[in-house]
């Protein structure tokens, strides 16, 4: 089985974020969004980040992806801190499909940008459409797809860009609960066969527990790491686990931790 995940023993993490702070300055006001965040993800590890809204989770992913720079601190991807843009795959909460491209041509965008000839890129995408539940829709335009399908096209585009690290920002936020559950199982399945490092940002505690090796809980803004919770549930995981004691205990621990933060955020809304 492909579940060789030993987060504690990796010598060099795939992704290392050290002492990152981020301040936004707008209109003379300084907004401190991240404060001294340390974060690691091992090779092939599945790590989640949960935290109150506005605590800087998306900002952190933007920084890791190279779309933004930290005010302080450093980011290393596979041991190198230089030039992050184009080195990790980043999936936004919105699917961001190009409406003028068919499913297939959206999926190959990353390969195309790297200079892979279109016909070769299409072949590689076609080999995966079944796995992504897109068979028969290869030549459809995005507007004719359901939300879940659009999200899977975005996933296919992300996977096909062939990075070792994948950042996911609330990828299932816009889906209904049932579709969401299916997509989580499907994502786990995908992860175990592609062997990528995944960083998932989510609001959903169930989701975090169900998929992760470790969970980072962030404080309210300015965001910092409150606790790191290892998830020791065995893999492969199935939905029946959700109602069992170990799962529920973990969930309770996380919820309590989060509750504290949201209360703190409400007590000091001016912060």
């Amino acid at each position: 089985m492909g579940y060789v995940v030993e987060p504690q023993t990796h010598t060099q993490p795939m992704l290392r974020v050290a002492g990152i702070s981020k301040d936004f300055v707008s209109g003379g006001q300084v907004l401190s969004v991240l404060n001294d965040v340390d974060f690691e993800a091992g090779r092939g590890e599945f790590v989640s980040i949960i935290g109150p809204s506005g605590c800087g989770k998306s900002t952190l992913l933007n920084i890791i992806a190279g779309l933004d720079d930290p005010s302080q601190g450093s980011v290393e991807i596979d041991g190198s801190g230089l030039h992050r843009l184009g080195r990790v795959a980043y999936m936004h909460q919105k699917d961001l499909l190009l409406p003028w491209r068919t499913v297939l041509d959206n999926a190959i965008l990353g390969l195309e940008v790297q200079g892979v000839p279109r016909s070769r890129a299409r072949e590689r995408a076609l080999a995966l459409t079944e796995r992504f539940g897109l068979k028969g829709f290869e030549h459809a335009y995005p507007f004719s797809l359901s939300g879940g399908m659009r999200q899977r096209v975005a996933f296919l585009r992300t996977i096909l860009s062939e990075r070792d690290v994948i950042l996911l920002d609330e990828p299932f936020g816009a889906l209904d609960a049932l579709t969401r559950g299916h997509m989580q199982e499907w994502l786990l399945d995908l992860w175990s066969s592609f062997g990528k490092t995944i960083v998932l940002v989510t609001h959903d505690v169930d989701e975090a527990v169900f998929v992760s090796d470790r969970i980072y809980v962030f404080t309210a803004r300015p965001g910092r790491v409150k606790t790191v919770v290892p998830v020791t549930l065995p893999r492969p995981r199935g939905y029946e686990m959700v109602t069992q004691a170990p799962f529920i205990a973990l969930k309770a621990e996380l919820l309590a931790s989060l509750r504290e933060e949201s209360v703190r955020a409400q007590d000091a809304p001016w912060q």
């Binding site: 992806a65 940008v113 499907w186």
Partner: protein
Amino acid sequence: MAMTQREPPSPTPSPAAPVGPNKHTRVRSLRGWAGSALVVAAVIGAWQGVVALFDIPAWKLPAPSAIGAELVASRALFLRHAWVTLQEVLLGFGVALALGVILAGLIASFPTFQRAVYPFVIASQTVPIIVIAPLLLIWVGYGLAPKIIVVALIAFFPIVVNTVDGLRGVDADMVNMMRTLGASRRQVFVKVQIPTALPFLFSGVKVAITFSVIGAVIGEWVGASAGLGYLTRVSVPLFLTARSFGAVVILSAMGVSLFLAVALLERLLLPWYHTERRQRALERS
């Protein structure tokens, strides 16, 4: 890895149903066409009736039937002049399109270029074309050239303005997505900005092509020896009113056909755009 492959969830619509106009919208648009045909027929009928009833002389107001007769009788003449005007329109429009798109690309890409050039683009539209047209005769002579310049001057403006808006209206998240895929600035421009701008460009082109016909007529009125605009100008003093009207009929037919040709081209080139827009409209209704 002996993984049991889980079927991906697919709460999906029927596979890739070709999204064409459904029966509902087709019937509606047919009804629309029938409606406008009816209005045109009513106007022509009333016109014919009024001319007959009050016995209006043909040099004052020719009846539609008289205009039709003139169009048939002098078809060789009309054809010759229409060809001249069509050339002016197409050449002038071509210049406007090339110039407009290049200018828009530069304006949208380089802030300094925008600051230096955009004000002049706008100012060029505040100078009445009727003042410039006679000057052009002095500068570039009497032939096709001054008409092409007048047409281009009028037509390039809607193309520039719309295309600039389109190039700028690009979704910042989409651009970031491209950057994380490792795209260069040029790749972002080609793969995201240009496709975003195309529907805007087409809106500009629809206005521009219609303006082009007007531009050609203005150019011919100021000084010409051929063309439909020229024909209207010389026919009236000779009391050949039906001929003048005939030229106008052909001019509007030309404008409408060119507009429809652009609309058709848009449908062919941007199939995603129309279906998406129609779907959104349907969702709203």
